[in-house]
Amino acid sequence: MTVVMDRAAKARSAPSGPRSFWTTRRRDQLTGYLFITPALAGAVAFVFLPLVLVVWYSLHEWNVLADTFTFVGAENYRKLADDPNVPAVLRATGLFSVGLVVFNLALALLLAVLLNQKLRGTTVFRVLFFSPVVVSLLAWTIVWGFLLQDNGGINGLLDAIGVDGPNWLRSGGTAMASVVVVQVFKNVGLNMVLFLAALQGVPQELYEAARTDGASAWTVFRRITLPLISPTILLTSIITVVGSLQVFAQISVLTQGGPGTSTTVLVYYLYQQAFQFHAFGYGATLSVLLFLIVLALTVLQWQMRKRWVFHES
């Protein structure tokens, strides 16, 4: 307030004549820019620059060992179109993402609805389901790796009840499902908490009115709860889809992309190309593909919000 009055006084007392370049407005702008410069510099150095560099690298053949960096134009993109592994990799990526998003969101919503009841002991369960979120991803995955071994804990339990469990991480059918489940249990708590917060924001009087009208529990959930928490569903689905496309550690620890290429998702494939096969240029091309897929999906979800997200203008 004082500042505003100062400025007004200064403006009144300012001598007329040639005005200085540094007007109050310009000085304020400069101050603002200087304050955001460190954050901006960080974003440029660690987000925008790498993004541009990846596109630049994708136009080159870069062999780290031989120390060669040759411009090859669109050659890597032609290689991408002809790569016989890419269809299988995209299929695995799609399977993982769909499996993860559907299973994760459904389970998170179910847990949130169950734990939203006013019953004794719900806090204990909330903590229990959320705790994997704070556990180190690698530790979590390694422990699951032991549990899922052929002679591991899960098959031991199945054995005790007379069931001959499959070789979870080694057979084509179960390897992908196992990786999805391990990832869902790791992160379902986070989505659960977000849903829980959304559920508690639904006005009670709407439920009371619906009940007075004789609506069944399912109708109440479908007509009142779901529409009112739809912004949270949008948020969690974007986070989960983007996260699912970036899965790496779990694949690297549990299956290394196998058996065959059944769990070789895009991120793991580009890691193999760049870091194991020393083809950094082609690896960068695959990152560009990943970037475009993430971008397209996010734009699509953002557009779709108009159709199904309630109270979005």
């Binding site: 109050t24 000085r27 400069l30 101050t31 200087l34 304050f35 410069t37 460190p38 510099a41 062999n63 780290v64 060992l65 031989a66 120390d67 071994q149 052929d150 002679n151 591991g152 070789n167 979870w168 991480l169 080694r170 057979s171 290394q256 992309g257 196998g258 058996p259 065959g260 290429t261 193999q272 870091f275 194991q276 096969f277 020393h278 950094f280």
Partner: protein, 413 residues
């Protein structure tokens, strides 16, 4: 107002200058050399540090640090360090990626950095030469042998076949019987784990099979010797239960299996002697007796910051005197040291006849594990194509034909 602008400017300047790294002294001053290894074995590390400490006595300005990286990602980690402009000065190199490192020009020639190169066994250096120049020094030329838990065999009422009776058929029979009696595992091919198939060379060479021809151009997986070897192995795993099934973990050195195929450097894991054991050569296959060698080389990276100092240290590290010390873990490539006398001094855990049979004869007759340029991509393609074989009832010849379909374009590159 002006004060606010100045504070913001100073803060920005501070942030920017803080980002600038502090350089290293290029020449003259103290030098720190970094050597990457894949062994965190305390006994190995202790020996390396002792050698580095000895070196410091004559070169007080040079400090050498040893960075142990996990074996399964070793080459990837080193490559990433090189790509990130943080290349180690000296790196161990696995035999599988030797052709890539040697042919790429990433290494400096070591001919002037190794004392008495005429003493090096030609079989040991073959993989490490490029145009007649020695690009890597094979500090470890280690034959594979079979470690046997004699206590476990006795407990299962089995005896270890010897002489002509030490064949793959008999070895697998004893392993299966011991596993069935004790509830432990039979024979573990160490580090194979149904992923690193190059360790299977310790089995399929007994049938005279090769992953590819000597010129590296033609796939050998669909040839009859390989089909026979893999059919035998498949039967031993899924019918005989002589080897642990996929996904089953068993460590011989923790007393979890009757036998394991491993290199002699693993003998140090048996120092505490929790059970009786012996070391024998690989069993004879249908094509007779054979031996397989695993190698580790070390090279000086051109992109390291102190290549000249690194070459000097390599000269010291590989000198005959230090080579003799290293021989307790890593059989040296120096012919003058490949005798039972020298090796026995360095390997108190092994008996002279074990050293003669497994190490000395093994190096003389052995063939190095499969290697090829572009080995990581080829290995991955083989691993992936072999996966369908690791289940009961698999079509072994069909899977092996699939391996060749997958790798032939890569071999032809």
């Amino acid at each position: 107002m002006r004060k606010t602008v100045s504070i913001a400017a100073i803060a920005l300047l501070g942030a920017l200058t803080a980002c600038g790294g502090g350089g290293e002294s290029e020449s003259g001053g103290p030098v720190t050399l970094r050597m990457t290894t894949w062994s965190a074995n305390p006994a190995h590390v202790e020996l390396f540090n002792a050698i580095a400490a000895d070196y410091r006595k004559t070169e007080p300005d040079v400090t050498v640090t040893f960075e142990a990286l996990p074996l399964e990602n070793y080459t990837t980690t080193v490559t990433t360090q090189i790509a990130g402009g943080n290349a180690p000065d000296i790196a161990w190199i696995l035999e599988g990626s030797a052709p890539d490192f040697v042919a790429s020009g990433a290494l400096t020639a070591l001919d002037d950095s190794i004392e008495n190169t005429a003493d090096l066994a030609p079989a040991a250096t073959a993989l490490w030469k490029q145009d007649g120049k020695l690009m890597g020094y094979p500090f470890s030329t280690s034959p594979f042998g079979v470690f046997v838990n004699t206590d476990m065999l006795r407990q299962a009422g089995q005896t270890l076949p010897t002489g002509d009776k030490w064949t793959w058929d008999n070895a697998v029979a004893v392993a299966a019987a011991t596993a069935a009696k004790t509830g432990k595992q039979g024979l573990v091919i160490r580090d194979f784990d149904y992923k690193d198939w190059s360790n299977l060379a310790t089995v399929f060479r007994g049938w005279g099979a090769e992953a590819w021809t000597a010129d590296g151009k033609t796939c050998g997986f669909d040839q009859q010797p390989m089909v026979d070897a893999m059919t035998f192995l498949h039967k031993a795993i899924f019918t005989g239960k002589a080897l642990p099934a996929p996904g089953v973990a068993a460590d011989f050195f923790a007393g979890e299996s009757a036998m394991t195929i491993a290199q002699i450097s693993r003998a140090s894991l048996l120092k505490d002697g929790k059970f009786g054991w012996t070391l024998v050569p690989l069993p004879a296959g249908p094509s007779g007796a054979y031996s397989v060698i695993g190698q580790g080389g070390l090279g000086v990276l051109k992109k390291g910051k102190n290549a000249a100092a690194a070459q000097e240290f390599v000269k010291f590290f590989t000198s005959p005197a230090n080579s003799e010390k290293l021989a307790q873990f890593f059989p040296p490539p120096r012919q003058s040291q490949l005798n039972a006398g020298t090796l026995a001094k360095a390997n108190p855990l092994l008996k002279p006849e074990q050293l003669q049979d497994v190490v000395i004869d093994g190096i003389a007759n052995g063939v190095v594990k499969p290697s090829h340029t572009g080995s990581a991509e080829i290995s991955q393609a083989v691993r992936s194509a072999l996966d369908p074989m690791w289940k009961p009832g698999a079509d072994v010849p069909g899977v092996l034909r699939g391996v060749c379909t997958a790798i032939q374009p890569l071999l032809a590159k």
